[in-house]
Amino acid sequence: MIEIKDLHKSYKMGSNSLHVLKGINFTAEAGELVAIMGSSGSGKSTLLNILGMLDGADSGEYILDGVPIKDLTETKAAQYRNKFLGFVFQSFNLINYKSALENVALPLYYQKVARKERQEKALNYLDRVGLKEWATHLPSELSGGQKQRVAIARAMAAEPKVLLADEPTGALDSKTSYEVMDLIQKINDDGNTILVVTHEEDIAHMCKRIVHLKDGVIVEDKKIEQVRAEQYV
């Protein structure tokens, strides 16, 4: 599903440049649930941004579902993001003046799905995250955990190949964190490929594989016994 070969990325900071990713090699099969761990500055967010086509790499190869991702124009990147990727952010990034339902329907709007079908699909995904009754509520009327579940529903609504979650539990208490992880595990059970960036050990252990990043290189990549979040909920 994801194939990365010798990925390099550096940022210019005034006169000197900061080498953030120093040759990353990484593959993820379809249906995997991978935790990307590392301390801040390890390059994990940069890696996720490149995987999410929010940022370009300096050198190296990136193949997503058999499609080489390179020389992206803004428009092309937007199309790929819409087609291949779903994003879940630490700060939810819901649009605050749109109801839960409208937020979930937004990626479908950019896929040019007809209004009615869009609403139905969005409601269906809201139902799957258990928030059907909250469809007409604004984000400000939802709790943190609910917001993140809406965000996950939004990411899933576009039916992406890969779900990228950047610290999805970073702004949540441990109980709601486990609820969110439970949801992510269930989505993964359905066969979706998910990458989770986190620095919390317990969250990482709820994935099936942990990749450790340190100073721009992968220092550890191991499959683990998944801890089900269900038991903590």
Binding site: L54, K83, N93
Partner: protein
Amino acid sequence: MFDRDIWQEIFHTLKNNKLRTFLTGFSVGWAIFILVMLLASVNGMQNGFTNQFNDDATNTIFVRPGTTSKAYAGFEKDRRIQFENDDYQYIKQSFPKEIEQISARYFANTNARYKSETGSYPFQGVHADFQVIEKTIITKGRYFNNIDVLNKAKVAIIGRKVKEDLFNKEDAVGKFVEFNGLPFRIIGIFTDEGDDNAERRIYAPITTLQRNYGNTNNINQIALTYNSSYDLTEALEFSQRLEDIMKRRHKISPEDQAGINVWNYAEAFDNISSFSSVLNAISIGVGFLILIAGIVGIGNIMVFTIKERTKEIGVRKALGAMPKQIINLVLLESTFITALSGFIGLIFAWIILSLIGPTINTPAFSNPSVSLSTVITATIILIVAGVLAGLIPAIKAANVKPIVALSDK
């Protein structure tokens, strides 16, 4: 453009920022208001001018002989030109299609006497057509006709002031008045809207005056009206032809400005309309400058809005919004504010004009109003202005990097 979601977002933004929307909208609405009012004022001035010239038929030409200022065709300069009855006939026959009314004029003065009342008045001999040319209004009796002219009838029409002087309250029509000792029958009384002096005149058939005052064929002036459907160019072209044939007839150099004077009302109108088109241009210019200030205001606010919504735009891009779609959103929003507030300004101006416009009727300023074409032009300008105002902010928005927008954790 007619996407419900886009409009929903626009309305939401406007609703959440009522004061900001009002202030920016106000600047554009105000600009359009001023523009329309300026144009209406120029229109009002134009109407005022037109009314003032309405006293005489506006398609009138007066042809007067003068004194040559150039030697030509064997004649020395400073030769006095004299028109005679033949000149009248000549013009009449030369332009049968162009001329509607034509009259020669013979100027004299007379001492009038009725019973014990006497007075001295200008006495003009004219043809029957002169009534239309001068727009003489007969209040009592009739104007003399072609038969009176042909018969050299001793009939006269007198102005309202003359009637008051000589007859006081007595009925004048049908009475005989002595002009320089000769009895004329009064057949009509006239008024003139133009001025009181015109009402101190006496008109009689030109043939009668020529016979009884010096037994002459001389005439002082020829007045005529031309085809009223002529536009300015045609009118000026016609008076030029008239001048040419009269100069040729009297052997006056074509360059001589003094030999013959052909005075066309249309020229005066031409001056007025060029004057008001300059005023028009100035008011459009001023209106535009004010409008530009309004547009800059809207552009400014849009830049600010984009700044505020950077994160949202980033999220949209992450969800797959294309730059084109973001540009669309911003442009539509700015165009909407501009057009809406402009329309409000337009409607306000229009209401004020239709309420007070018709009540204003002074010599220099009358019924200020705007034409439909002005309104349509203003609308197009507004929409273009809205797009222009949104353009830079929209490009700015499209260039928002999602990674930058989303980086604040």
